[in-house]
């Protein structure tokens, strides 16, 4: 399935607010991160250290039951405070 992934911080500066990627049904977070890495191999390390959020909740390692309306986001290491 095709999904849009929201990006933030340095990933957003490099790639824009969202990228569209092709992922398997019920993908894992790793598979989604891998699909984004394919678009931007030079950012692979940053993408690997990012966390995935679906509908504004951090995901676990479990396969994700994605709906087409779900909001998927890559969260680079946070640095607030």
């Amino acid at each position: 399935m095709q999904i849009q992934v929201k990006l933030f911080a340095m990933l957003q500066e490099a790639l824009g607010e969202t990228v569209t990627v092709e992922v398997p049904a019920t993908p894992s977070a790793e598979e989604i991160k891998g699909a984004v890495s394919q678009i931007a191999p030079n950012l692979k390390q940053m993408i690997q250290t990012s966390r995935l959020a679906v509908n504004q909740e951090f995901t676990t390692n479990a396969p994700i039951q994605l709906q087409s309306t779900d909001e998927v986001a890559l969260i680079p290491p946070v640095s607030g405070g």
């Binding site: 929201k6 933030f8 911080a9 340095m10 959020a53 504004q56 909740e57 951090f58 986001a73 969260i75 680079p76 290491p77 946070v78 640095s79 607030g80 405070g81």
Partner: protein
């Protein structure tokens, strides 16, 4: 009831402190993080903060709710946008019946905020631009 805010307006420390005052609490601990000039040899000129709204606000609620459930009051504000030296980036305040609790919970909240709340810092130093720290 907790008060949480993430936005571009300057942080009004006194107004946030006033929200923590209450006859039922004897101890108020606050942490304020400001933009520091020097980090070792690196000199910061200014910082821009961005957030993932409203996930960042939801994450703050998850932090604040368990502390409030223990009978304390929580006030957290994080500024986004462009900040100059000494500008307040974050305010975390806890009012509790006992000061030991207030210290513990305030430190827990800022430590956890720095791990779990999607806010990012883009630091413009005199030698380079740096994301995060």
């Amino acid at each position: 009831m907790y008060y949480l805010n993430i936005g571009d307006s300057p942080i009004n420390v006194d107004a946030l402190y006033q929200k923590l005052k209450d006859p039922q609490y004897g101890g108020i601990v606050t942490f304020v993080g400001t933009v520091r000039q020097w980090t070792g040899d690196i000199e910061t000129k200014y910082i821009d903060y961005s957030a993932y709204h409203p996930m960042a606000e939801k994450q703050l609620e998850k932090l604040a709710a368990p502390i409030e459930a223990k009978g304390a009051r929580v006030v957290i504000a994080h500024r986004t946008g462009h900040l100059e030296l000494t500008d307040e980036a974050v305010f975390v305040g806890v009012a509790a019946a006992h000061r030991g609790d207030a210290f513990r919970w305030c430190e827990y909240l800022i430590d956890t905020l720095k791990q779990e709340v999607p806010i990012w810092k883009k630091e413009t130093d005199t030698d380079a631009v740096r994301w995060g720290d």
